[in-house]
Subunit: 497 residues, 2 copies
């Protein structure tokens, strides 16, 4: 246990090393590290009093709040798991989360949905705000034995397998390793002040919240994104960074068009002339690269950083310094440079599997590597290109064909508005590649022309044998609706299906 | 094993992610990461062929060389332990190392000492240079099963307990965690080029060599420090950082007084006007703080960083972000802020104990904390002051008195040239504090005056009851020779002795 360092341990050290530093700002609430530590100690005692023990889950259903960080730290102290869930989901979706996670305690903010669910789910329900504060006030501080940092402490719901989301479990060790990698690439220093202006149930915000904790900085919380409020908080709290991207940045720049707020403390990525004038453009590798890379919840956040590969060929960059990345074929063998394989990983930032999904966990960790479910390619300079989700692989003449790769090749033809690639059963080759293509209005291209276009870009066995034209590619979310395409165009015979 | 990341794993990833990056420069030798990886694979096979297996030791007796890094990485691949030893030790001292470490393989550079020892010690002796190169050339590449990163991989001899040095064992996990903390505080980026101009048997050089590996930078090796050669290498290799301090910096600045070499690639700490003009003064926390902090081999290098505590009261700064620090009394209880206690630590960078010292290891990890053997104090602002080595504590009237603290108080008197504090047996208080003081030539002070001086600075029970004056304080290395002082001035009755 001498090598263990949990989130709770990090807090305990900051309480000693940074007695005067503000850990948390949330509305009228301001807590120094010793104050946060004292509240977490009481909260851990209170949760234990409600029956929360090692491995038990505590669910947060509400907007952003410092209470999320407190619950996470209290769970770390107890060996329990904190799950901040997306409270904007439908009643049916939240009902699924409650049944799936079976939390011992639910801390909830009132809304139509949560009010309807209250009492229907398992566990003790504690209302955020008054009831939560009373819980802390009434608790006696209590010491708990040290919890190994390999224990899961955070659960974040992520992409559905089989139509329903899964809770990715992250340990203190993984979260701290990932936070440290952000400190490196983002060159975060003491005094770093992060505005949690994105949702804490998403790893993109959570990972910066925890990196800020790691370096002993200040986390500022706001219930939800509001451009004017972001301006006010950046000015008032001298915020160093916030969770902002494209349209959010435009909204903030617009809200501050009159320069009423001083946003110069914000060290941020360049975006527009107007924005760059308001802020301090950050020269750290993270911001030099416009914050790019490839990531997913299951690896704690970022698996690769564009900032580690300036001028590289692959637009996902190079691996996080605390992981290894391999591009593997379905049989677990590494594919050659320039070939497409599944992005697989090992290392310090990796998750501990999905909660209560033993079969899926076994499949995702085949051959001792975490399988991301996404396809990538290693470029000649060693950088990595993200191709797209793996979804269903086509098997043709013993070769693996990934629809995403062929779709990218088709989409590079000027006449093509959209393309989806499916596999159709073939008596000789097991499957044949079939392309479903939508052309731009006024665009013209024959099937043979498109097949030739693909053949010029990819290995010959990947080219479609047949192209059918449609007005529009059916979608499910951001990706083609392969079930609908298979049904409409004769798809089938996929390996393992 | 999906969470494991060994030094060998880091190399394997760089070989894929950085095929064109120079990993190593050493005289005429230049190796890219894939070339280094290929050599390490062959070397691991060759060492296995010589009988090196999990837990076995490989000893390096020679000057700095890229072979040290290769041997360390090959040991990581095998689960073995690499020990670069101080070859400038006496024949007797090296004989002790050989008997203590019982290495399976010794790679040695010819010298009077090594030639005399060859054959007398255990293991296979391989001469650096020709024999070492032949070993690599003759080996067949071989794959080995993944080694858990908690296994020790590096042994560095450090401070003697009982008069003889001990080999501190460091795991891949600890070395990688420490390297990452240096990436944070030193803001190291891809392209970082480190000149190994200090000895690799010392953690101060080794920790930067490994941080450079971690970020995929370039390690430049030079057999030993030479000011002119440092200038040449910095210029030729565009070196970012070198292992240099005070007098070495002056020597380099002098060697380049005519500006013949371009040292502007060196991002380094400010030192003198002449030096600052030659280099690029580095604004990272590490260099802003003039590289200060507190460390020891047993914590992988730096336990605290001055760069994390700008303007703080304690001159050792704040803890490494990947450790916890506590100041503990001998009974394992934390001492209050402002009081002196032993600097103790837990966390990711900590060593795995000393090789073959079970009793010492148990004592050093009492109460679940690594005991550094050094004294410190937590200041009101949370920063840490390093006081001095613990050595023998005095027990007076149930209070703990640490000689180093009283000695510092005495030394602050203008007339005092040196001071040592011992405990003498006391029938009532167990021990009484006695000071042995040497005055500056021409300095005058009475015993009562010095006792009053200490009383003004420290708690009353810490003041000496008696002061004796001597011409010179006997020393053993940098610290007073307490055994000689006890014998000469009636010391004794120490707790636990």
């Amino acid at each position: 246990m001498i090598h263990s360092l949990s989130l709770s341990d990090v807090l305990a050290d900051h309480a000693r090393s940074r007695p005067g530093v503000t850990a948390v700002v949330d509305g009228a609430t301001r807590l120094t590290y010793p104050e946060l530590d004292a509240r977490v100690t009481r909260l851990a005692g209170a949760l234990a009093g409600l029956g929360v023990g090692g491995g038990d889950r505590v669910l947060w259903l509400g907007r952003n709040s410092h209470a999320v960080l407190e619950l996470l730290l209290a769970c770390s102290r107890l060996g329990a798991v904190c799950c901040p869930a997306n409270w904007r989901q439908s009643e049916d979706e939240l009902r699924f989360v409650l049944a799936d996670l079976t939390p011992s305690v639910v801390v909830w903010e009132p809304s139509d949905t949560t009010a309807a669910l209250r009492g229907s789910g398992p566990g003790t329900w504690v209302r955020a705000g008054d009831e939560y504060e009373r819980l802390i006030a009434d608790a006696s501080p209590r010491e708990f034995p040290q919890v190994p940092d390999a224990e899961p402490v955070l659960a974040l719901y992520t992409a559905g397998f089989g139509g329903r989301p899964c809770a990715a479990l992250l340990s203190s060790a993984a979260l701290i390793a990932h936070a440290t990698s952000l400190l490196v690439v983002r060159q975060m220093e003491p005094g770093f002040t992060f505005l949690n202006s994105g949702p804490l149930y998403h790893v993109g915000t959570m990972m910066f919240c925890l990196a800020t904790l790691q370096i002993g900085g200040t986390n500022v919380f706001t219930p939800a994104f509001d451009a004017e409020e972001v301006c006010r908080l950046v000015d008032a709290e001298r915020v160093t960074q916030a969770f902002l991207f494209g349209p959010m940045i435009d909204a903030v720049a617009k809200a501050n068009a009159d320069g009423a707020y001083d946003l110069s403390s914000l060290r941020f990525v360049t975006h527009s002339a107007e924005w760059d004038d308001m802020i301090t453009v950050d020269g750290s590798p993270w911001c030099r690269s416009k914050m790019g890379g490839y990531g997913q919840t299951e690896v704690g956040g970022m698996l690769t950083f564009l900032g580690l590969a300036e001028g590289g060929a692959g637009f996902a960059g190079r691996p996080n310094p605390l992981v290894q990345v391999r591009l593997l074929a379905p049989d677990g063998v590494e594919v050659p440079v320039g070939e497409v394989g599944e992005i697989c990983a090992r290392g310090k930032t990796l998750f501990s599997g999905y909660f209560a999904r033993p079969d899926l966990n076994a499949a995702k960790s085949a051959y001792g590597w975490h399988h991301t479910g996404d396809l990538g390619r290693r470029e000649l300079d060693g950088t990595i290109t993200f191709i797209g989700p793996k979804l269903r692989m086509i098997k043709s003449g013993a070769e693996n064909v990934y629809p995403a790769e062929v779709e990218r090749a088709l989409a590079s033809h000027p006449a093509v508005a959209g393309a989806a690639v499916i596999g159709v059963p073939d008596p000789v080759w097991q499957q044949a590649v079939k392309a479903v293509v939508a052309l731009h209005p006024g665009g013209t291209a024959t099937g043979d022309e498109l097949i030739g276009h693909v053949q010029a870009l990819l290995a010959s066995y990947k080219k479609p044998r047949e192209v059918v034209f449609v007005d529009e590619i059916p979608k499910r979310g951001p990706t083609p609706d392969y079930d609908a395409l298979d049904a409409a165009h004769g798809g089938g015979g996929y390996p393992g299906h």
